[in-house]
């Protein structure tokens, strides 16, 4: 193996989206030599696709907001299956993380008195999302990118080398992690541009690789979302939790076919847009579930009053959490009240002036104009559910983001727990910042405390190189090799049809069988050409991850015999309090994926106090309910309910 680069760092961050960059900024600011390795060009990460905003209880628009309200909303959105500590940290720290972005140069939309403006969003009690029109993700990624550049400029001034302490390895894909004993020791990667291999030596790795949506046919996710970090963590011995919970965003484009799945931001509804069926009826009033009846209006008049008087009216049901809205749309279409192309109508044209629409929703206006020839200031948009986000991910310690493997950290979409069974819009960007930073600190502290550095074994490097080259050898060896593009499209079809928005045991069993077949066929994946920027080869390597992670989703989903958030079972339609406290954890075994049941951490007493017992009763078993005695509970009480 001569054709291989060698790099030594203190911390490797895999992924250059919001979480990865925030982690890298933190690690570098704490003096560590940090590498960011990303599959795409720097600044192109999937975070740019985020539209609505960053949820943070700054209270700029409604001063009643505070972290407790945000915490409650997050727990409700996740149907109380969230890791409460993560939800707590997120709600408490998000404002500081947003304000910090201003010191990096971010320019959010403003309130009349010059503070950061905040908009309404599904599941959030108050206007809470810091935003820039409907391109907040772009602002976030650019701001962090430019902060990275500013740190590099500082290094240039001090060391004469921009990359002295922070380097971005762009268009470089990590295929394996190395361990020394049970500790992380580095990573193996290839450069897309020329196919050269690279070995990285580092005692700490932060996974910030995003999600898994590319395993589904209709998705808002880009090609990068192949579950790389999920799979790397599994193979290294970490566990994944909540993998059965996959969020289908209620509003993706449905027409024309080539754009099916592309996101239509929830801000359309937050800013006044409503959902209608083919007769023009606002159908969401029929879909307010029992647990949300106190907070959501049951008639149009009240819902419309809420925009101007939120204190005295209940919210429009279009702003229910995403899982509820997605199921409602799915059902309406199934019952024949949908659009010609199998969607429902999202109408903002009759609700806001054309000028207002262009100002508040410029990207959506542009997107529909360019891709669908639809003018959203005059016509309704056709929308339907699209695979958007995976709540499941690496099981981590909430405070430090460390996984079960020493030296392995995870933050952002690749980490699990924060969002429970369903993520609220706007909580993703906050998650990236809060836990990206925490992972950076976690990794920095870990590295500082090491007495010896774990080593990378040459035999592991050679083995990783051999596995990466397999698809080329298969092309020479096999009579009937498999085509990666064909296999990917079959995988996407299986996941979409059989483990999609509505699930049944029978369909998922059949999915598992087909995944097994696909996995066996994947052994015969072969690619043409050479290693220089070869998308067929890249896909062949990504497919291993996609298959492994898809199996986690299907296995966990079969096991959970209830419906909750992003997991809807036609054969078990009820949400079952007995299941609430159960976490399904996936680990990699010799023969595939193993799912084990674990207990959710018990909600801390002072956090339980934030809810009425009557509300907790909707989610929890009688045994779990707090006994509200008159004695006060201290701030840091460790009493468990």
């Amino acid at each position: 193996m001569v054709d291989i680069d060698r790099h030594d760092y203190d911390v490797i961050v895999v992924g250059a989206g919001g979480a990865g960059l925030r982690a890298a900024i933190e690690a570098r600011s704490r003096g560590l030599r940090t590498a960011v390795i990303c599959k795409s060009l720097f600044g192109k990460a999937h975070t740019v696709m985020a539209e609505g905003g960053i949820a943070a209880c700054m209270g700029n628009v409604n001063e009643n907001d505070d972290w407790r309200v945000h915490f409650r909303d997050t727990m409700r959105g996740g149907k109380f299956s969230n890791n409460w500590r993560m939800a707590e940290l997120h709600a408490k720290e998000a404002p500081q993380r947003v304000w910090e972005l201003e010191t990096y140069g971010a320019l959010f939309d403003r309130t009349g008195d010059g503070r950061i403006s905040q908009r309404n969003f599904g599941g959030h009690e108050y206007p809470r999302l810091a935003h820039v029109g409907d391109r907040t993700g772009l602002e976030l990624i650019r701001t962090l990118q430019q902060k990275v550049v500013s740190l590099q400029q500082q290094d240039y001034r001090e060391h004469g080398d921009h990359e002295a302490r922070l380097r971005v390895f762009q268009e470089c894909t990590v295929t394996e992690l190395f361990t020394d004993g049970d500790r992380i020791s580095g990573a193996f990667a290839y450069w897309r541009e020329n196919g050269r291999f690279a070995r990285f030596h580092a005692p700490a790795v932060v996974l910030a690789t995003g999600g898994i949506g590319k395993s589904f046919k209709v998705t808002s996710n880009s090609w990068e979302y192949t579950g790389d970090g999920h799979a790397l963590a599994l193979r290294t011995g970490a566990s994944l939790i909540n993998m059965e919970f996959v969020q289908f965003h209620p509003t993706g484009m449905v027409w024309p076919p080539s754009v099916k799945g592309i996101l239509v931001t929830e801000s359309v509804r937050g800013d006044g847009g409503v959902l209608r069926d083919s007769s023009g009826r606002r159908f969401m009033f029929d879909y307010v579930p029992e647990v949300f009846k106190d907070n959501y209006a049951d008639n149009e008049a009240e819902a419309d009053r809420w925009y101007s008087d939120p204190q005295n009216n209940r919210r429009p049901p279009e702003l229910l959490p995403r899982d509820e809205v997605a199921r409602a749309i799915n059902n309406e279409v199934k019952e024949g009240r949908g659009s010609e192309h199998g969607g429902m109508f999202l109408d903002v044209a009759s609700r806001l002036s054309a000028e207002e629409i262009r100002r508040r929703l410029p990207s959506m206006h542009h997107q529909f104009k360019e891709l669908a020839d639809v003018d959203i200031t005059a016509e309704a948009m056709e929308v339907g559910p699209t695979c958007h986000y995976v709540m499941g991910g690496v099981e981590v310690d909430p405070d430090t983001a460390v996984s079960a493997v020493p030296g392995l950290y995870a933050a952002g979409e690749v980490a699990g727990g924060m969002h429970g069974s369903n993520r609220l819009g706007g909580n993703s960007l906050g998650d990236l910042l809060v836990f990206g930073r925490r992972a950076g600190i976690g990794a920095a502290d870990y590295v500082a405390g090491l007495s010896s550095r774990p080593e990378v074994a040459q035999s592991d490097v050679d083995a990783a190189a051999r596995r990466a080259e397999e698809p080329f050898e298969a092309a020479e060896r096999l009579q009937n090799p498999e085509n990666p593009y064909t296999l990917q499209s079959q995988l996407q079809q299986v996941m979409n049809d059989l483990v999609g928005i509505i699930r049944t045991e029978e369909e998922m069993r059949s999915a598992l069988q087909r995944l097994d077949e696909l996995r066996r066929r994947a052994d015969d994946l072969a690619v043409e050409g050479n290693r220089q920027f070869n998308p067929g080869w890249h896909l062949a390597l990504d497919l291993r991850n996609m298959l492994l992670v898809s199996e986690c989703v299907a296995r966990a989903a079969v096991r959970r015999t209830e419906s909750r958030g992003g997991h809807t079972r036609d054969d078990h339609p009820r949400m079952d309090p007995e299941w609430r406290a159960t976490l399904l954890a996936c680990t990699a075994a010799e023969d595939g994926v193993r799912v084990t049941e674990k207990s959710q951490p018990v909600l801390r007493a002072d956090l339980a106090e934030l809810f009425e017992v009557a509300e907790l009763r909707k989610y929890c078993t009688e045994d779990e309910l707090p006994r509200r005695e008159p004695e006060p509970v201290g701030e840091d009480s460790s009493d468990e309910l």
Binding site: L41, V48, T103, R110, L138, Q152, E224, V259, Y485, V527
Partner: protein
Amino acid sequence: MSYDAHFRVWRGDADGGQLQDFTVEAHEGEVVLDIIHRLQATQAPDLAVRWNCKAGKCGSCSAEVNGKPKLLCMTRMSTFSADETITVTPMRTFPVTKDLVCDVSYNYVKAREVPAFTPPAGLEPGEYRMQQVDVQRSQEFRKCIECFLCQDTCHVIRDHEENKEAFSGPRFLMRVAELEMHPLDAYEAGGGNRAEEARGEHGLGFCNITKCCTDVCPEHIQITDNALIPLKERVADQRYDPILRFFRRKSD
């Protein structure tokens, strides 16, 4: 509503290459990137192309379609007639890596040469106050998705490799303008002069406002009118103001 589309796609690498003809199925509502993907899946599995979001938001799939700088994901097939041959080539201003992918590192080098936002002294996080009308000017420039089509089309560097050293291109002159117009950037309070640096370090003088960059911008940013011309005016004000000029001479 499907038909066989005729494509000529440039294939090759730094050592050379040629246009290759393909006949490939096209369906209603598709964009050029869909066709390129179909080519990969059916005829040319190793055809290299960059792409990510496929929704005009990330600026990855920049190339030239019939010689015009375009995002492949935002170029609809319906804008061509069915019997037309559609030619797809990599951006001409940057060295080719392979097929439709080119080496855009020039842009990352230039990005590093623009001094970053300098936070104002004495303001803690959370204390920033700015009016919407004041942030709006810079916000327009922050819509930039860094597709680098403006760089690709700019005649200063399109066929003039020799100008690359001295000229940062519309994207990064606009970045200077963005920071110059940022209501709270403290760089100039610390002695910097962004407009002067645009002239000196970034080659603003090369630009003769032909608006080619504005024409190709997929985000419809008014690069020339709102960024480059105001920057030029600022330079003119500073350099040719008779009184300031007098002082500068003395300090030079």
